[in-house]
């Protein structure tokens, strides 16, 4: 005169499933935490190179978008979306490098150089958006804008190489 108790069959399978689901939930929580708190200097430098990569990617995106827009290949609204995303990425990189806590003054010097380079990158990307807003349809891209983007790209690349060299020196020690 009572409800049938829960079934015993496939008890191990069920236990395994329970464990798997619990692991997944736990991992979901862990993964949500930000990747913060890199204390080691090599880790910090790795983080800086990641951000410089992002800044360089933003500059290249802006450059491709400007060229495509100048050739009449990209609708103005789409180019605007692409470049505004690039501005966000570039300024995000500046913010990330600027707020990174580094363990020693030597690393800090490298970080400052990288910060300068990433700051250089934001300017031309932002002015690409300004050009987009003011230019008539299919206007040729102004050479000084393209030059500025190229300069920014070179600066970021140079900083990237410098950080990588510092990191490999650290690793060799």
């Amino acid at each position: 005169m009572r409800p049938v108790p829960s079934r015993p069959r496939s008890a191990t399978a069920r236990r395994a499933l329970t464990a798997a689901t619990a692991c997944a939930a736990l991992a979901a929580l862990t993964a949500c935490g930000p990747a913060a708190g890199r204390a080691e200097s090599t880790d910090a430098l790795l983080s800086v190179t990641d951000q410089l990569d992002a800044a360089g990617s933003a500059v290249a995106t802006a450059r491709l978008a400007v060229e495509a827009r100048a050739d009449g290949h990209l609708p103005a609204v789409t180019a605007d979306a692409a470049i505004s995303d690039a501005v966000e990425t570039a300024s995000g990189a500046v913010h990330a490098i600027g707020t990174l806590v580094v363990p020693d003054s030597a690393t800090d010097q490298v970080r400052r150089a990288a910060l300068d380079a990433s700051e250089i990158a934001v300017g031309p990307v932002a002015s690409a958006r300004t050009w987009l807003g003011t230019s008539a349809a299919d206007a040729a891209a102004p050479p000084d804008l393209l030059d500025a983007l190229d300069d920014a790209s070179t600066a970021v690349e140079r900083a990237h190489a410098a950080v990588q060299q510092a990191a490999s020196e650290r690793a060799a020690r």
Binding site: M1, P3, V4, R7
Partner: protein, 147 residues
């Protein structure tokens, strides 16, 4: 039924043998129009024969001693699911029953002879229909009737 362990070997029963866990529990329960009314979350068992009135078991019922034949008196669904997941036993007055005599067929789903809307079990469906979904514009629109 394999619900209770008999002392003597069970005599061969005529008809189809159903395993409660394999063929009944956790099956979908469909009403006479094939509309789902719930999942078969649990079974209520009671002694068979005269004197064992259909209905809820009471505390002063004599305990079953293993010689009494036990039959399924009702399908349970709804909140009783909680006891399947977490264990424990809610008061029998809280169970939503569908009497076994309404069952017409046991296949890949359990079919009933009555309409789902007439059962207590589907009160949440009716509540959501009357208070939320039915009140939104188009809530009673037939998808096959065109826009």
């Amino acid at each position: 039924m394999t619900g209770a362990a008999p002392l003597l070997p069970e005599p061969r029963q005529p008809g189809r043998v159903l395993d409660a866990r394999l063929h009944l529990l956790d099956r979908q329960v469909l009403d006479v129009d094939s509309v789902p009314v719930g999942t078969l979350d649990d079974l209520e068992l009671g002694p068979s024969g005269p004197g064992a009135a259909a209905g809820s078991p009471r505390a002063d019922d004599p305990p079953l001693d293993g010689t009494t034949t036990v039959v399924v008196t009702a399908l349970l669904s709804g909140p009783v699911l909680g006891t399947r997941v977490f264990g424990g036993r809610p008061p029998a007055s809280r169970w939503h029953r569908v009497l076994w005599r309404h069952v017409t067929d046991v296949g890949t789903a359990v079919r009933l002879a009555n309409r789902g809307d007439d059962l207590d079990l589907t009160w949440t469906e009716r509540w959501v229909r009357d208070h939320v979904v039915g009140r939104l514009p188009g809530g009673r629109h037939d998808p096959d009737a065109g826009p």
